[in-house]
Structures are given as structure tokens and as C-alpha cells.
Symmetry: C2
Subunit: 382 residues, 2 copies
């Protein structure tokens, strides 16, 4: 472990079958609770009913309609409701978008200013309303970290910010059975790429963190065909749910150099086209691997060997085969791996290039992914 | 992930070179602090000086002399001092024994009764004095968990109990450079066996937890010869220190069936003979593997294949080779692997058998390790 680091993750994880009922014990007494929801799929899959049952006798208001890639425009309404109702606790019920949105709501209720200011500058966050979550989609890891990504529909922008951890998160894998296959595939890709962003940088910083990152990816590769075969197999879906949480809770990130260029380029595409996050990443990561293959060479070779058992051929051949294997993995779960499959072309690439040049953006573990390199990455995704 | 589980580990980890100075910021203001120490090696290696420097201007008292396998007899003195001085915070500076002892001190200062009652019955623990640690020996994982093992010299007994987590723990790997080779070897064995106790039970409960457990063991096996070659290699010793903490902080224990027979048998040997914990475990685990090879067959095969790359031969041959490889690993770091090397024989085995039969002890993942099976395990360790 070459680098100094600090680590703390206080979230209590409550994991397993029929655990939503534990809300009744976990929520502190005498709170005015704001319950935040997405578009309403929880009304179909039984989650809403279980939450209402557990909240019996509690003082709460509901806010509905936090959308995928949650917008500050929607969240401002929830913040206004929270201020008006003087809420003292928030419960997010949904996927990563609902939890991400709730992190902004929690930060902005006590803040005297517009919520977007907090997204642009996390250091303005002061007191926060404590919050917890009931997770319904394994993907973003938001249920056990302090990060969130918020979109601004008006400006067509999407930025990450950091606030605080959920007090607790309830993960009942049975709620994932009703998810559409595409959403599950996007969750698998998001999880896989969270790990890659923390892993595919420099070698020999921490052998243990490497092993743990590889362990999540190996597990996902083993799970994917089983999920394809039966997305109501509890053992398989629960393991996927565990992987998604462990992929972005800091457990594989201790003291390691991280990348995140793929995520930040992906956010731009989503901001401009509304493409699903995991699907977008599955395309961009391949371009990142191709464009930065020299810089990431040693780690690409280790990744290929340990995750895909690619050990034959020259180094260049092994890297080619590793990138192909990654693409094949995404295709095997039904995702597109080219921008043109999403009808995205050069116009978007140039727009993102210009944005990055205008902002002076420099991404990645070497800080060398500027507008020009981003253009090269995205051209390799066409 | 077949089983439901809850997980929460609130300890803040501060890891890296020259981090002891951060005590000054991490310790809360206006506390009356009890600083607990072991036998005095911290006076030689510079740790004591750094701690004193960081505590400048603080209101604190010191307690010296918590021994390896800390005894309730010694800890009662620290508890009396803590009550008398009305301490409000405790800082443990030392290895696992000092931190374990501090957990009992923290629980017993607010308790109106004898501390040994708390060891025998953790449910009697009420309010605790908050505590933190500066770790000097990588081994027990006590710096990031709620467990502790306390000995009773008078009764020649040694029991585990569970209280609370350190608020923070500071891990500066440079402090390990001055450790004796034998102590490092015992720490490696303790770490390795912590993982095995959580791993070597049933298969297919959680593929990810398996991968993470295997990842720690693979890393230790890679590190061991490098540590043998140069125990002042920062990258190597820091990785070992990270492994020791990650081996028993719950990260590899989510929802998995655990064993702990080896530890609990080992505690009896240490209670009777004062043998070093890690050394004792390195002997007993081999007997456990031999005696319970049928029950643990599937996991032994997976362990052999993934950790030692043992894939040829019949299943029985592979298990034989896996147990031999484990023994060889312990011998490679200079540890004994037979009870007779510690001058322990049949008399002790019979004494432990009788204790277990008298107490009605039934250990292990199947609850079948009683006095008779323990006798068989220990005979295989002669």
C-alpha cells in the first residue's frame, strides 16, 4: 500500500429477504419523515406496500417523481416540500437516482440558496438532514457511499458531488426480480465499470485492493449468464446486489489511484442525449481502454490475465484480446458497445470536446484526458 | 448471497506514513484521556515520543503494562485508574492485546461490578467510554472490530467478548519495522487463519466473499517471502498491515457461515501454556483441516485450487497437498507446526478435552466440535 489514505464508511447495511419490514425498527422515533420515490414502479412490485406497512404510525410526507438522472429542477420541488414540512429525516425508496437526488435534498433543505450551487461546490454543504434508503436497483452504489450525480435539464449538464452517507440502507434482493432485463444489464455494466475506474490505472499500488477489484469483476462475469438465464434466481440476484454495493463503497479504493474519465465523459453523453448511465459507460470504457492502452498497459495485462485468463500471445495481442473480451462481456448481457447503435455521432463528440476545452477539463489518473484526448476516445467508440 | 446479514463498521481508518501526528486533530477536545500501553517497546521505536508530541496540551493519564494475552487482573488496575481519574476517552497505543484490553477497560469503567462478568456475558455491557487506537502490530484486527479476547490468569481461562468499535485507528506501517521476526510471523499466521475461519466452511454461500477471502490469503502468500527478505520494506509491510485489518473487520464475513473452532481451541492452549496466539493457531488449524476434511471437503478443494493452484490428482490427493501447502507456508515464515515443538503433549490435550466436555462446548460451523473431536484434532497436531 504505497499511498496514505483515510477510510470510513458508517452506513449500516441490512441485506436479505423480507428486510423492508425492519424500517419500523431502524427509523428513529419522533421524526418528521420525507419519503422520496421515483416514477412509481414500486407500486407494482410490492415495495410501496411494504414501506407503507413499516411506516404505520409515523409522521411522514411523500414526494414522487425523482427521474432517472435526477434533475435539480425536480429536486427543487422536493426541497421546497421538505422546508415547508420541516422534515427531520428522509427515506429514499428507489434506485441510485432516487438516493442521489435525496442526497441533494438532504443537503439543500438546511441551505439558504439554490440547490445547484451545492452541486457545483460541495464545500458549501453544511448541516444535512439525516437520510436512509431502501434500494430497488443494484447499480450505482449510492446506498453505501456519499456521492451523487445530479443533472441540470435547463443547462444540459450533469455533475457529481459529495455529501454524506445513508444512516442505513435496506437491500432486499427479491425486489430486483421485476426489473427489466435492460436495467439489470445497465446495473451490471455500471458495477463492472465502477471497479474498472478504481482499478485500471497503475500497478503495484496495493496487491490486496487489486485482488478485491478483480474478485468483484470475476464474480460479475460468473453471474451474468445465470442472470440472463433466470433473473428471479435469488442466490444469483442477491450476489449481484452485493457486488453493486461493494463496487463503490470505498472497500476497493483504499489508497489507490483512480481514473473516472469514462464516467465523466459518459455523464456528458447522458446530459446531451438522456442515454442510460450504465449503457453509456459500456461504450465509453472501450474507447478509453483503446486510446489509453499504452498508459494503462501494465494494468490491462494484469486485468486480462486475472479476470479473463488471457495469458498467451504478445503483450499487444493480449491487450487486444482483453478489450475484445470486455466488449464481448457487455454484448453478452445485451448492451450496445458502439455510439452509432445509440444514434450518436461526430456532432456530439465535437460538442463534448468543446465543453471540455472551454472548462479546461483534464480527466483520468494522469490528468491528461482533455478535450482532444476525449475526442480520440469517443471516435474509437463510433 | 444465500443468507440475510447486517453489516456496519464505523471505525475511521487513518493509514500511512507519519500519521500518528494526526492524533492531535482526531482526538475530541476537552476530554480526560486514559492512554493505555503495553510493556514498553513503544519507548524504543519512537511511537511513544510521537504520541506524547501529539497529546501536548491534552489532559491525560497513562496506564502501562497491558501484557500479551491481556489478563483481567492487569486490566482491573487500569479500570480502577480510569474510574478514579473520571476519564472520558481512552487511547490504546499498542498491538491487539492493548486494544483488546482497552475494550474491556472502556466497558468496565461505567460498570458497577467486576470486569470479568462482562467477559463472560457481553450483554451486561451498557454505556462505554469511547476509545481509539494507534496500532503497532499487524495481527489481530482489533483496531477495526468490536471483539476482544481476555485472559484470566487465576483461572487459566481465555474468552472472547464483543463490545464496541474504535472511533478511529491510526496505522503507520513504519512502526512495524522494529518488530521481531517471530512476532511478524505470528501476525501473518493470525491474519491468514482469521480469513480461513470465515472461509473454510461451506461453498457457494457468497462467491464474492470467497473471492475477497482468497484475495487476502493470496496476497499474504506473495508478501511472506518479501517480508522474510526485508522487514523494513515499506510497500510490503504496509500491505501486510492492510491485510491484517481487512482480515477481521467484517468485510469478508458478510452472510457467511464461520468456523472459529481453531481459535477457541487455540485460546485454551494459550491459557494453559502462554503460547503466542498466532503460533498456536498455525498448529491447530492443520489439525482442524485434517480432522474435518470430509465436512470441509468442497471448500478445501476450492481453497487448494484458488490459493495454492492445486488442480491435479484425485480429490483426496488435492486435499492432502492443500494441507501440506498450508503447513509449508507457516514453516516458510519460521513457525512451528507441531505441538511437540512447543513441548505440549497428551496431558494438555486431555485437559482441554475435559474442559470442553465439562462446559458442553460445541464449536465449528456444524457445532460438532466437542471435547472428543477436539481431542482428535489436537492428536493430529502432535
Amino acid at each position: 500500500m504505497k499511498n496514505n489514505f483515510e477510510f470510513q464508511n458508517p452506513t449500516k447495511l441490512i441485506f436479505g429477504k423480507w428486510t423492508i419490514a425492519q424500517l419500523a425498527q431502524e427509523l428513529p422515533e419522533n421524526e418528521k419523515i420525507l419519503v422520496t420515490y421515483g416514477g412509481g414502479s414500486v407500486r407494482q412490485n410490492g415495495v410501496y406496500e411494504q414501506v407503507c406497512q413499516a411506516l404505520k404510525g409515523r409522521n411522514y410526507v411523500e414526494f414522487w417523481g425523482i427521474e432517472p438522472n435526477p434533475t435539480v429542477e425536480t429536486l427543487r420541488k422536493a426541497i421546497a416540500l421538505g422546508k415547508q414540512e420541516k422534515v427531520t429525516y428522509i427515506l429514499a425508496v428507489g434506485g441510485g437516482s432516487v438516493i442521489d437526488g435525496t442526497k441533494l435534498i438532504s443537503s439543500a433543505i438546511p441551505y439558504n440558496g439554490d440547490a445547484w450551487e451545492l452541486v457545483l461546490n460541495s464545500s458549501k454543504i453544511g448541516k444535512m438532514i439525516p437520510f436512509a434508503s431502501v434500494l430497488t436497483i443494484p447499480a450505482t452504489g449510492s446506498e453505501m457511499n456519499s456521492g451523487a450525480v445530479i443533472s441540470n435539464a435547463e443547462k444540459q449538464e450533469k455533475f457529481a458531488f459529495f455529501s454524506s452517507y445513508p444512516k442505513f440502507s435496506i437491500l432486499d434482493p427479491t425486489v430486483t426480480f421485476s426489473l427489466p432485463k435492460f436495467q439489470i444489464a445497465c446495473g451490471i455494466a455500471d458495477t463492472f465499470i465502477h471497479v474498472l475506474e478504481q482499478y485500471l490505472t497503475v500497478i503495484e499500488e496495493s496487491p490486496l485492493m487489486d485482488r478485491w477489484a478483480e474478485g468483484i469483476m470475476q464474480t460479475l462475469i460468473e453471474l451474468a449468464p445465470k442472470i440472463n438465464a433466470d433473473k428471479t434466481n435469488y442466490d444469483v440476484m442477491s450476489e449481484f446486489m452485493l457486488c453493486a454495493t461493494m463496487a463503490l463503497n470505498g472497500f476497493t479504493a483504499m489508497g489507490v489511484t483512480q481514473d473516472w474519465a469514462t464516467h465523466l465523459i459518459g455523464h456528458e453523453i447522458t446530459a446531451l442525449h438522456g442515454t442510460t448511465h450504465g449503457q453509456t459507460l459500456a461504450i465509453v470504457i472501450l474507447g478509453t481502454m483503446k486510446q489509453l492502452r499504452e498508459q494503462k498497459k501494465a494494468k490491462l495485462l494484469q486485468f486480462g490475465e486475472r479476470v479473463f485468463t488471457i495469458v498467451e500471445g504478445t503483450e499487444e495481442q493480449r491487450i487486444d484480446r482483453t478489450i475484445e473480451a470486455t466488449e464481448q462481456f457487455f454484448r453478452s448481457i445485451g448492451l450496445a458497445t458502439k455510439l452509432k447503435e445509440l444514434n450518436i455521432g461526430n456532432e456530439t463528440i465535437l460538442k463534448i470536446k468543446e465543453r471540455f476545452l472551454f472548462r479546461g477539463t483534464r480527466l483520468g489518473e494522469c490528468g491528461n484526458v482533455d478535450g482532444y484526448i476525449t475526442e480520440e476516445i469517443l471516435k474509437k467508440c463510433l
